[in-house]
Amino acid sequence: MNLRLLAWKSLSSRRSTAILTVVSIAVSVVLLLGVEKIRVNAQSSFANTISGTDLIVGARSGSIQLLLYSVFRIGNATNNISWNSYQAIAQKRGVKWTIPISLGDSHRGFRVMGTSKDYFSFYQYGQKRNLQLTYGKPFDDTFDTVIGSEVARSLQYSVGDEVIISHGLVSTSFSEHKDKPFIISGILEHTGTPVDRTVHVSLEGIEAMHVNWQGLVKKRKDGKTLTEANLKPDSITAFLIGLDSKIMSFKLQRYINEYSAEPLLAIFPGIALHELWSLMSVAEQALLIISIFVVIATLTGMLAVSLAGLNERRREVAILRSIGASHWHIMGLLITETLLLTLAGILLGIAILYSVIGLSQPIIETNYGLFIPISLPNEREFIMVSILLLTGFVVGLIPAYRAYRNSLADGMSTRL
């Protein structure tokens, strides 16, 4: 006996309620899997933001704060660190490279970061990937700038364009340094990290922006007077350290944290990322719990619809019994119906989820710096969907059992 055909016909005859049930299951699937996708990708995009760096050093504050401003360009440093301290630590034995970071300016909403050329050689993200330039070359001149891919995309910049960098972080700042345009020398490849949203200039460039230019404009134009020497920064915001050997990192961390000349803080990026993520995981758990409740509400709705229809179907059950259907057939029919609804809901939900991801991918990436790839469901998502299907089956048992009880009481009586 082909129960699926019977179940399908029965559902088709109640098309509007069946479609509504499927849609509500689909919505809960979108929510459940969507939350999971965002969680997984946020976590991996998080972990991939910085790689190959052994220590991050900044003025003494909290480790998460240091991580946020140095790597994520979120928030501000409470204090700078002096150039001398930076030099002293950078020249310690075992330090392979350092990348200075100087923050505090912006360009049309994107953060400006002063750094050295070492940034292009040593900064790594993802699985130890170095930065690559799609167009142009790293900055060479004081007034050269290298922009991230997202900056170039959203502001439609290309190599050779002039940009005005404003002091402070507001995009429409009144204090724009209009007299000192920077020229784009290169555009970085897409990384999926905050680098994409950063305008990079040399440390000298940062200093140059803040010098009182009244008397120097002419000299700049003939090109010689401004030397690296007189644009040497007094301080930077933070710096990244790469070591010859990881074994040294604890020793160096202790040295930096006990540095006597000024209060400094050195953190391991991996540990700080983990701490930051565990803060976020509260929100993640909350989202997951909400989606589980939505799923429960949906399945309860399906159960209610199924039970409400059961009384009208007593005659149908009696007819099927008289034709020779066993109780197993009757229960199978009702379970098959809920399973079909659940399965259809899951498939529709997955289809909707992927369409939504496909459509909103660029928007999410621009606004939240989060890239969600269209990938096959991972193991966890697969388990979630399987549990949902199993729950659909269990929920189907309830009307099935009720139908069985009804049919025991009714026998073949169809005079209801």
Partner: protein, 241 residues
């Protein structure tokens, strides 16, 4: 028409006692009934006389607390529920008073439904007409004679008389040995009633099935080989027939 090739009766009820609920008084007590193969029996009884209970027992839907029930050579009290369901699917066709049809299936799907539950009846239909659908169409055409109907159509636009014919075709498909009709004409008007009975008898004569016809209305009893009053089955000291 009396007769039977086989010596064992098709249905034999002996000293049957049945109550729906443990504390209720029995619906049937000391029931005795014996029906031979190919017999056409009219069971007459007012409503509440235990007709439905009797049919449920013969169909194997319920088993009596006491007594002996033999249907088509099977002792129902020794069979498991699923086995009784199988006997019903293979050998019994039902026509009820009304609302016989599954509303979400087409006319043709309703008629062929028993062949989905019984391989035997499917095979019988194929042997006779080449396919289950052909057999269904053959039966429907005979029962409908002149009226032209789209058999793929839904059943909800059919008149009661038309519904009863579809139900008869469904009961007859695959030539079950026993046709049970429970007041099949009580919701029909007089003319339709006559036409329906004629068609039913024609088909049953062709298929050679046994007919068990239950009704409170004695006007049709002249069509049958034998009349059994419900009171003789369900009351104490029932008459052995």
């Amino acid at each position: 028409m009396l007769p039977s090739v086989s010596k064992t009766p098709l249905i034999r009820l002996d000293e049957v006692e049945f109550c729906w609920h443990a504390k209720a008084s029995p619906s049937i007590k000391s029931g005795k009934l014996c029906i031979e193969r190919q017999e056409h029996v009219f069971i007459q009884g007012a409503s509440g006389s235990g007709k439905t209970t009797l049919l449920n027992i013969i169909a194997g839907i319920v088993t009596p607390q006491k007594g002996r029930v033999e249907v088509i050579g099977q002792n129902f009290l020794e069979l498991k529920e699923v086995q009784r369901d199988r006997v019903r699917a293979d050998h019994i066709g039902f026509i009820f008073q009304q609302f016989n049809l599954i509303p979400y299936l087409s006319i043709l799907e309703n008629v062929t439904l028993p062949c989905r539950f019984s391989d035997l009846r499917r095979q019988n239909a194929i042997d006779r007409s080449g396919s289950v659908a052909n057999e269904a169409i053959y039966l429907l055409n005979r029962l409908y004679s002149k009226s032209k109907l789209d058999f793929d159509h839904n059943t909800n636009e059919l008149s009661v008389g038309q519904q009863q014919r579809v139900a008869a075709a469904r009961a007859l498909i695959g030539q079950p040995q026993l046709i049970i009709a429970d007041e099949p004409t009580s919701s029909l008007d007089y003319d339709s009633r006559q036409a329906f009975m004629d068609l039913l008898f024609d088909e049953i004569k062709i298929s050679g099935s046994t007919l068990l016809y239950v009704s409170h209305d004695p006007t049709q009893k002249h069509l049958f080989d034998r009349v059994v009053k419900m009171s003789t089955i369900s009351n104490q000291g029932s008459v052995n027939l």
